[in-house]
């Protein structure tokens, strides 16, 4: 077991991958690459817990190479609504919040990737956890005149405060020798506590861009063969004015041949300023400002340029020159800061304050082809010394060096056993007589699982007496769950989560007693809405929407609260809370699996098809003739039927209108609506419509029918109709039952319903052709007995191959639950830790 060998868990903040604009800048790029390199081949002994914020934009997906050695969690602190100016005020609350996260994970190492983001979780109280901090540069201190001195007061104070916190860290990662020296000089930290982990070029730059893109760029920017490329930002240290000035001092012949291309995101007034400078210098005709470029375009420009001109005043590392070297682009850069150390002898070095020196280097490079060729070769050799693999190796070494077990954390006993055992399962779910599809499902599942392990059902406490009358013991109130877990009576918890208020009671336990979540509906908007806004709790609603859908959710919540928009019951998933808390996830269809995985979290997820009853299979049902004679239906009739509760999302109006049209063509047809109307007013509406359409003698509403009668109604039907709109990602239990009974089905061409095979389950699109198409299907299937037989056989084959019976399914559940617990072991605090009262440790 790989997990049992893990001795070091690293808790990393991934805020630089979430915060705008950092995620697109150097720091974001460095963190992304370093983490990808780390996670791509995590070695034995180290596991990563990535901590992001649910309220910020989601990070780009991580490589999913070793899902057992890293996990992504979304914290719930309303970071996004904090203003940087409020930084010092938020610090206390945020620090407290982080302490709870640290208590929860009890990591052996805490790695802060970007301490100078104003919402980075760096806090002196975390000192009891070995802390590693990456410091990219100290430019604001080094070039105080140009940066810190003119910054607002809160920023100056904040910057110096973070510097003091950095001094407390157990270990510092610097990205270059130069930065390390700065840290030693300015923060007075002993050099032994600092490791250097330079990054490398981005592999994107090794791809040769296609000729078409190059041609497009030439046309777009009016470029000929060669040009001087400068990547910069509108920032003092990027030295833009001297770049322009030195270029203007070039011989006109060279300027004519090699225009200057500056790649830099610019606001319109900044662009105008640069243009006016260029006019004053007389180089307007030779200056191209690309403004923001896509990364593919940027790579193409690197491959097309003659020379990279990067005379920055100060860089922590200078990734652009490594990118240029990887493209075989000769480089001119500064002889200051980290740049000489990165460039070595593979670039022309200039004094970035001396315009004439810069012009001289440009002239030499542009007029000497041999020099360019030799620089190209040296650059390609030099860049090989750098690489993200090496960065990752340095980080791993540092983690090994500083790691030490930290204080106690509460971990459920069942996650402490090595290896886990699974003899006693807790299932948290609504159960009959509660009226819901999930309750019925859980009752069946409970019966099935109990043939293999002891299962205790945990239900809403006020429903306990009623449920105990219906469901075999043991059944407990949910409030008993934590006690029984602490007492070691439970080996794993299985939560049944659906999109209704019946699941409220389970929500508070999801994170405190982590378990496997079986998500019946990919969309949980209704659950969360009824839990918050439905109870009048506006603040909680705002918080939940923000947590689940960051900025989009916040805007939506505000709109709903102000009555500018209706709640997006079927558009927004709002399932992050459940997904984030689970240690494993079970779903019933691909649609829900996809919306769950869209969060980028990577705990094990398993699709288990909604099981069926063997007793109801086409092979075990009584024959059609028997069923019909029992129900008093003529054997000559064409019997169509819908099954399950008659609710507004079953599109019964469409069914009835279409049926009325069908009756004109096929007078012997009958329609059965098998199930109770919900709400009761639906029944009234349906009977009125049936009367209006004049099909009263052909349509029958059965109301609630017992299970055995239900099977008979299925057996008596020729075609099942199961339309649905809108849907929350649920799998219809009755639809699967119909297929199991060998009944051809017509359903809606949407979400999970579209996943069923076409050869036994025909799909009607929900649009203006819905009725016409349904009618055409009914006419075709209804008048062709051979086709119906074929579809019936196809349905049986599908069920036999893909759908487990209730008896078979328990094994799939137990196997997955065990695997999920096994894979969770890597992220659980190790050692002899026992359950102890949590104490806040103060430095």
């Amino acid at each position: 077991l790989i997990n049992s060998t893990i001795s070091c868990r690293i808790l990393s903040d991934i805020l630089p991958l979430q915060i705008q604009p950092t995620r697109h800048r150097g720091i974001g790029r460095y963190t992304t690459r370093a983490l990808h390199a780390l996670l791509g081949q995590a070695p034995e002994g180290q596991a990563h817990i990535l901590w992001g914020s649910g309220h910020l934009a989601q990070p780009d997906p991580f490589p999913d190479k070793a899902p057992t050695t890293w996990r992504l969690y979304y914290g719930d602190f309303p970071l996004a609504t904090y203003q940087p100016e409020q930084w010092s005020k938020q610090l206390g609350a945020y620090g407290d919040y982080w302490q709870t996260q640290i208590d929860r994970f009890s990591p052996e190492v805490l790695h802060i990737h970007s301490p100078f983001e104003w919402n980075a979780p760096l806090h002196s109280r975390h000192a009891r956890v070995p802390t590693v901090v990456t410091v990219y540069d100290l430019i604001p201190l080094r070039l105080q005149e140009h940066y810190l001195r003119h910054a607002p007061n809160w920023m100056q104070k904040g910057y110096r405060h973070v510097c003091r916190l950095v001094q407390d860290a157990d270990h510092i990662i610097a990205i270059s020798e130069c930065s390390r020296q700065d840290i030693v000089d300015l923060l007075h930290i002993e050099p032994e506590r600092i490791s250097v982990a330079p990054g490398g070029p981005s592999e994107d730059f090794s791809r040769i861009p296609d000729a078409k893109r190059q041609g497009d760029l030439r046309t777009r920017f009016g470029l000929r063969e060669g040009f001087v490329l400068s990547t910069a930002g509108f920032d003092y240290r990027k030295n833009l004015s001297r770049i322009l000035e030195s270029y203007s001092l070039l011989e006109p012949r060279l300027r004519q041949e090699f225009p200057l291309v500056i790649v830099c995101s610019l606001l319109s007034e900044q662009e105008a300023l640069l243009h006016s400078q260029a006019r004053d210098l007389g180089i307007s005709d030779h200056l191209v400002l690309t403004n923001y470029l896509s990364s593919d375009d940027l790579v193409a420009l690197y491959h097309m340029a003659t020379v990279q001109f990067f005379p920055s005043l100060y860089e922590g590392l200078g990734l652009p020159i490594l990118d240029a070297m990887l493209c075989g682009l000769p480089v001119i850069t500064s002889n200051t800061s980290s740049l000489p150390e990165v460039a070595g002898d593979a670039a022309l070095l200039v004094d970035p304050l001396d315009v004439h020196d810069m012009t001289g280097a440009l002239t030499r490079m542009l007029s000497d082809q041999e020099l360019r060729a030799s620089m190209r070769a040296k650059g390609l050799a030099r860049v090989n010394l750098f690489g993200w693999g090496k960065t990752a190796e340095v980080l791993r070494q540092v983690y090994r060096q500083v790691a030490r077990p930290t204080g106690p954390a509460y971990v459920p006993p069942f996650l402490q056993r090595q290896p886990p055992v699974l003899n006693s399962l807790a299932m948290v779910s609504p159960l009959p007589p509660q009226l819901s599809g999930v309750a019925d499902f859980s009752a069946d599942l409970l019966r099935s699982l109990r043939q293999h392990v002891a299962v205790t059902a945990f239900v809403q406490s006020d429903q306990l007496p009623a449920i105990r009358r219906h469901v075999e013991s043991p059944v407990q109130g949910i409030t008993d769950l934590p006690r029984m877990v602490r007492a070691g009576q439970i080996d794993a918890v299985l939560y049944q989560i659906g999109n209704s208020a019946m699941h409220h009671f389970a929500m508070p336990y999801l994170s405190s007693v982590p378990g496997i979540a079986e998500i019946h509906d990919g969309i949980l908007y209704g659950l969360i809405h009824s839990l918050t806004l439905g109870r009048g709790d506006v603040a909680a609603y705002r918080q939940e929407l923000s947590y689940a859908h960051d900025e989009k959710g916040r805007e939506h919540a505000e709109d709903v609260i102000a009555h500018r928009a209706s709640p997006a019951f079927y558009e927004m998933t709002v399932n992050r809370r459940v997904v984030n808390a689970a240690i494993g996830i079970i779903v019933h269809n691909g649609w829900t699996r996809d919306v769950v995985q869209a969060h980028g979290t990577n705990q094990p997820i398993q699709m288990i098809n909604h099981p069926v009853r063997a007793s109801e299979s086409a092979y075990n049902l009584p024959s059609k003739a028997v069923c019909r004679s029992k129900l008093g239906i003529s054997s000559d009739d064409l019997v169509l039927a819908t099954f399950g509760r008659l609710t507004s999302n079953k599109r019964l109006d469409v069914v009835l209108h279409t049926f009325a049209r069908l009756c004109r063509e096929v007078p012997q047809s009958r329609l059965l609506l098998v199930g109770p109307a919900e709400p009761p007013s639906m029944g009234l509406h349906l009977s009125q419509l049936i009367q209006k359409l004049g099909i009263g003698d052909r349509v029958q509403i059965t109301g609630y029918v017992a299970e055995s009668d239900f099977a008979e109604y299925m057996g008596a039907s020729d075609i099942g109709i199961n339309l649905r709109y809108p849907h929350a990602g649920e799998t219809s239990g009755t639809l699967v039952r119909l297929l199991n009974a060998g009944i051809p089905v017509i359903t809606s061409n949407l979400g999970p319903f579209a996943e069923l095979p076409d050869d036994c389950c025909w799909k009607v699109d929900v649009d203006e052709w819905e009725e016409d198409l349904l009618l055409a299907y009914l006419l075709r299937v209804g008048t062709d007995q051979a086709l119906r037989r074929q579809m019936s056989d196809n349905a049986r084959c599908y069920v036999q191959a893909e759908i487990p019976s209730w008896d078979q399914v328990a094994e799939a559940y137990l196997t997955f639950i065990y695997e999920a617990m096994l894979s969770q072991m890597a992220f659980v605090p190790r050692g002899e830790k026992q359950v102890r009262a949590r104490t806040r440790s103060v430095k």
């Binding site: 009555h563 054997s635 012997q668 020729d718 076409d758 799909k763 016409d772 086709l787 037989r789």
Partner: protein, 449 residues
């Protein structure tokens, strides 16, 4: 139906049908053929069919339907006129018999065709108008649908869409709303309707407070005009009977026509009444109830201490000014035996409905006092276990009814409706409080030190 719907035991069909392919074939075919292409062309180009060309050609037919015998002309010089004259003469002889006849028939036919064309044109014009109207309707519907789509997709269009959309859906609701509001307003307006003072106004019992100008015979007229009916009042008073049932010497202070005394007699309890109005006392005596004519305060002042088991005062205290009420309390306290009970029913002044409709109708009512003030005064007097019991809710049809929920499956509307109903509830609660309140107070069994 050529086919029987009875499926036999399932066996392999003779030939395999590719059901999936069949589904896709039908789906493609249904979704491609539709009226929409032609209809969309009409919608795009315009509503009316262009009838002007047809009209022009029918005019042309009108010019030419009547076929005339052409005069024969000859262009031969000199003898031409003669030839022509001859031909005309010959034609008139030779053609007269049959050609004329045919010509006439032809003209008749032509005319009828012309008539027919006219009729068709007329029909077409009508049809065109109908089309125009239909197209207009369809356009409206289409716009409405489009706007619905936009609403779903783009929030920024919300306001504009809402304007059109809600107009259509809320028109019906608006009427209900207006009706509800009208009810609220009319309930608040003193002339809005006739509401019973749901109690039994007693005649000005306290001479000091009820001014003589409004008392006496005038008050009895008023009383007769506005008092609730006997069964209504008895039903309301019945709730207090259990409080007195087992007690001795219960005084009905301001007994009026003796409704409460009757209830007490039915319950077999020992009680008597006092009222200032001689006519009322007479009514009581006619019913053989025990009643004396006296001023309540005067009567109480004359009683020995701890002599009464209970005192009931139905709609009395609102006629007493503050000092009189306090005096009434202190007298009642003195006269009641330990654990004796005092019940004073009075209009609920905390309900705006009562204040707007019933309270001020009676000129002998004093300045309204809040029920809790009554309670406080009773406590100050030394009564224990005081309680305010509210009764007689405003009939639901006079309050604002909840709006019916819509059939339309539109969560936003439902959401609004629920909230609107919630607010109506709160308004109802505020405006339509119970009409009566009773102060129930006990004299403590042991005197507090």
């Amino acid at each position: 139906m050529p086919d029987s719907y009875q499926d036999g035991p399932s066996g392999a069909p003779e030939t395999t049908i590719d059901a999936a392919a069949e589904m896709h074939r039908i789906r493609t075919s249904v979704r491609s053929h539709s009226l929409t292409a032609a209809a969309q062309a009409t919608l795009a180009t315009g509503a009316s069919i262009d009838l002007s060309e047809l009209d022009r050609r029918i005019r042309d037919v009108r010019e030419r339907w009547s076929v005339q015998e052409l005069p024969f002309e000859s262009h031969t010089p000199i003898i031409g006129p003669f030839i022509a004259a001859f031909r005309t003469a010959w034609n008139s002889i030779a053609a007269k018999w049959h050609v004329r006849r045919i010509l006439l028939q032809q003209n008749e036919f032509n005319y009828s065709v012309y008539q027919l064309l006219q009729a068709v044109l007329l029909q077409l014009q009508k049809q065109s108008e109908i089309n125009a109207a239909l197209v207009q309707e369809i356009r409206k519907n289409r716009d409405w649908m489009l706007q619905n789509e936009i609403r779903n997709e783009a929030r920024q269009d919300w306001e504009q869409v809402q304007e059109n959309w809600s107009k259509a859906k809320w028109a019906e609701q608006q009427e209900t709303w207006n009706h509800q509001l009208y009810l609220i307003l009319s309930a608040l307006h003193p002339d809005g309707g006739v509401f019973l003072e749901a109690g039994q106004p007693t005649s000005g019992e306290s001479g000091e407070d009820a001014s003589e100008a409004h008392g006496g015979a005038h008050y009895r007229d008023f009383n007769t005009a506005f008092t609730g009916s006997e069964p209504v009042i008895k039903a309301l008073y019945r709730q207090y009977v259990p409080l007195f049932e087992s007690r001795k010497s219960v005084l009905d202070a301001g007994c009026g026509q003796g409704y409460f005394l009757e209830l007490m007699r039915d319950a077999g309890a020992d009680s008597y009444g006092v009222d200032r109005d001689a006519a009322m006392v007479q009514v009581c005596q006619l019913k053989s109830l025990n009643a004396v004519q006296d001023d309540v305060l005067h009567h109480l002042a004359g009683l020995p201490a701890d002599s009464l088991g209970g005192i009931f005062a139905g709609h009395l205290i609102e006629h007493l000014a503050a000092e009189s009420f306090q005096r009434f309390l202190s007298l009642a306290y003195r006269c009641l035996c330990p654990r004796g009970v005092l019940v004073c029913e009075t209009p609920n002044t905390a309900s705006p409905f009562v204040m707007a409709n019933t309270f001020h109708r009676d000129l002998t009512h004093q300045k309204p006092v809040h029920p809790e003030t009554y309670q406080f005064l009773a406590q100050m007097q030394g009564f224990a276990d005081t309680e305010l019991r509210y009764s007689l809710p405003v009939p639901p049809h006079l309050t604002a009814q909840p709006l019916p929920t819509l059939e339309v499956d539109e969560s936003y509307v439902t959401h609004l409706l629920i909230e609107a109903n919630d607010r109506l509830d709160r308004i109802n609660h505020q405006l339509f409080g119970h009409q009566n309140v009773a102060l129930i107070a006990y004299k403590p069994s042991v005197k507090s030190p």
